[in-house]
């Protein structure tokens, strides 16, 4: 079989193809509740399973453990804690970013799980696991009902 070290596959006989498909993803029953509360009220909601008592964020329509419907919503506010974080220095093509971007998993008191989101108003070397943070929302007129209605999480003031 071929053993040569080929650095660019375009140097072999080839056909350049493309898989073009676009999608529209509905946010679902629990997702609409979650994103409506962010959009309208700047509140992050979880869902509580009345059978096992677990509060999940993001909320779900059903408990994956008990397999029962989750009908109770819990307001978790907009404050959480950095559970872990990364500082991203390169883009998807491997090119260096002008400014590194910080992403964290934010957890919320009284709930299981959390949200992945950007961190802002802080320098990379200042971020610490366990740090209290709060959501910074876009101006209401700009919100569309997506995870990006939260601009980022910043250190709690």
């Amino acid at each position: 079989m071929a053993t040569e070290k080929i650095t660019d596959i375009r140097h072999m006989l080839h056909w350049p193809g493309h898989m073009e498909t676009d999608y529209i993803y509905t946010q679902g029953i629990a997702g609409e509740k979650f994103f409506s509360e962010i959009k309208e009220n700047e509140k992050i909601y979880g869902g509580r399973c009345n059978h096992c008592g677990q509060v999940f964020v993001p909320p779900r329509l059903y408990c994956e453990r008990c397999f029962r419907k989750i009908a109770e919503w819990r307001n978790l506010g907009s404050k959480g804690v950095v559970y872990t974080f990364t500082v991203v220095y390169i883009d998807i093509d491997g090119a260096k970013l002008d400014e590194p971007i910080m992403y964290a998993l934010i957890t919320f008191d009284g709930a299981e799980g959390g949200l992945i989101h950007r961190l802002g108003e802080i320098k990379p070397h200042e971020v610490q696991i366990g740090m209290p943070v709060e959501a910074v929302f876009r101006p209401q007129a700009e919100r569309t009902g997506s995870i990006n209605d939260i601009r980022y999480f910043k250190p709690q003031s």
Partner: protein, 388 residues
């Protein structure tokens, strides 16, 4: 034994692992399959069933890849199925092949795994961006590497593990791969090389990561009756296990792979293994990132939680250590054509238990080996235990 029939591995094969191979995915699958059949001394006609393991369609760029690859896997007019559990696919493929034969439905099964990641141009990183939740994760521009970085950081934080302790895994595996004839990235590097390599997504640096690759691997499985007629040296599949954790990435114990523990417990129970570090002689542990080898050793209960770095620093996991981990060179050294990389690990355990691993042969006379892979959205564990 759980199954009705005892199942043996009687042949293994694999292609070179490279960044860009000229062969199509089908041709790669055929090379590996033919090599495994040749080692078993069998023809395609002798194969009663075929299992193909291959990961996201978007790598090869054929949106029904199992069907596209079928002829290269020897499936012509045979009972055939494709299995797919992301990165866990390679080891899950042998688990699936096992139940084909253990059930008594077939006497033989050809298990093949393939990935041609170079088709996804300019880089398969783009294919990975669409594996995440479309509502909660993708709008943030999530990439594979920063998701791993979040997990790695939590693991380091929980146990107070340093980067230099983790880098030892990359050093070991790339060095082991120098002895593997199919390896893509065998090298003599130092801990300093890893720590000085490009920072991608802190704490992940360039040399913490396995490459993207093209390649294929294959195994021939047979029932006890058939295996004993064909070889004096069968390797038995004595344990299989697989498990998935919550689909919500944000709801897992990121410092500890519980799904790997569940899969391992299932396999250990089936194999009658009570004390894994004592009873496992050699293991191929999934290592797409250096920290994952440590993380997975703990999930497999080959090390206590937070203790895998110490075993590594003490040389226990070296090829001549008491518990050799990834004598092949692993994904970090041999390469990472996703599904094929997992099955490569099963090939390695087969060759180690037969004493056929050449310069990679671990010391002593290994009788019990383990291969493990990990996949889907970082929450799938697949395990196989083999004995000679």
């Amino acid at each position: 034994m759980v199954g009705k029939k005892r199942v043996a591995v009687i042949g293994a094969g694999m292609t070179l692992f490279r960044r860009n191979l000229k062969e199509t995915g089908k041709e790669l699958a055929w090379h590996a399959s033919k090599m495994a059949l040749d080692q078993a001394g069998l023809e395609l006609n002798d194969m009663q069933s075929v299992v193909m393991g291959t990961a996201p369609d978007a790598f090869d760029g054929v949106h029904m890849k199992g069907e596209y690859l079928a002829d290269g896997a020897g499936a012509w007019r045979k009972p055939y199925s494709r299995v797919f559990v992301g990165g866990g696919t390679g080891v899950f493929a042998i688990d699936a092949g096992w139940w084909h034969v253990a059930s008594g439905q077939f006497d033989t099964c050809l298990v093949v795994a393939e990935e041609k990641m170079s088709s996804c141009y300019p880089h398969p990183a783009y294919a990975f961006t669409t594996i995440f939740d479309p509502i909660y994760s993708r709008p943030l521009g999530v990439t594979l590497i920063w998701i791993f970085a979040l997990e790695m950081h939590r693991y380091m934080h929980r146990h107070g593990i340093k980067k230099e302790e983790i880098a030892l895994v990359s050093v070991k595996n790339k060095r082991n791969a120098l002895d593997h004839p199919c390896a893509q990235l065998g090298a003599n590097i130092t801990v300093e090389d890893v720590l000085n390599s490009e920072i991608m997504c802190w704490p992940v640096q360039r040399l913490d990561i396995s490459p993207t690759s093209d390649g294929a691997a294959a195994l021939v499985l047979a029932s006890e009756d058939v295996a004993k007629k064909l070889t004096d040296n069968p390797v038995w599949i004595d344990g299989t296990g697989w498990c998935i954790d919550t689909t919500f990435w944000t709801n897992r114990d990121l410092y500890y792979p519980r799904y790997v523990q569940c899969a391992a417990q299932m396999a250990y129970k089936m194999a009658g293994i009570k004390n894994p570090p004592k009873e496992i002689d050699v293991a191929e542990v999934y290592d797409p990132f250096d920290y994952k080898e440590l993380h997975h050793m703990e999930g497999l209960m080959l090390a206590r939680k937070g203790q895998a770095p110490k075993l590594t620093a003490d040389g226990v996991t070296q090829r001549d250590g008491d518990l050799p981990i990834n004598p092949s060179g692993g994904l970090l050294g041999v390469g990472n054509p996703i599904a094929a990389a997992g099955l490569m690990k099963c090939c390695e355990i087969f060759w180690q238990l037969r004493g056929e691993a050449g310069k990679r042969q671990v010391k002593g006379d290994p009788r019990t080996g383990l291969a493990q892979a990990w996949g889907d959205l970082m929450q799938y564990g697949s395990v196989v235990i083999m004995r000679s």
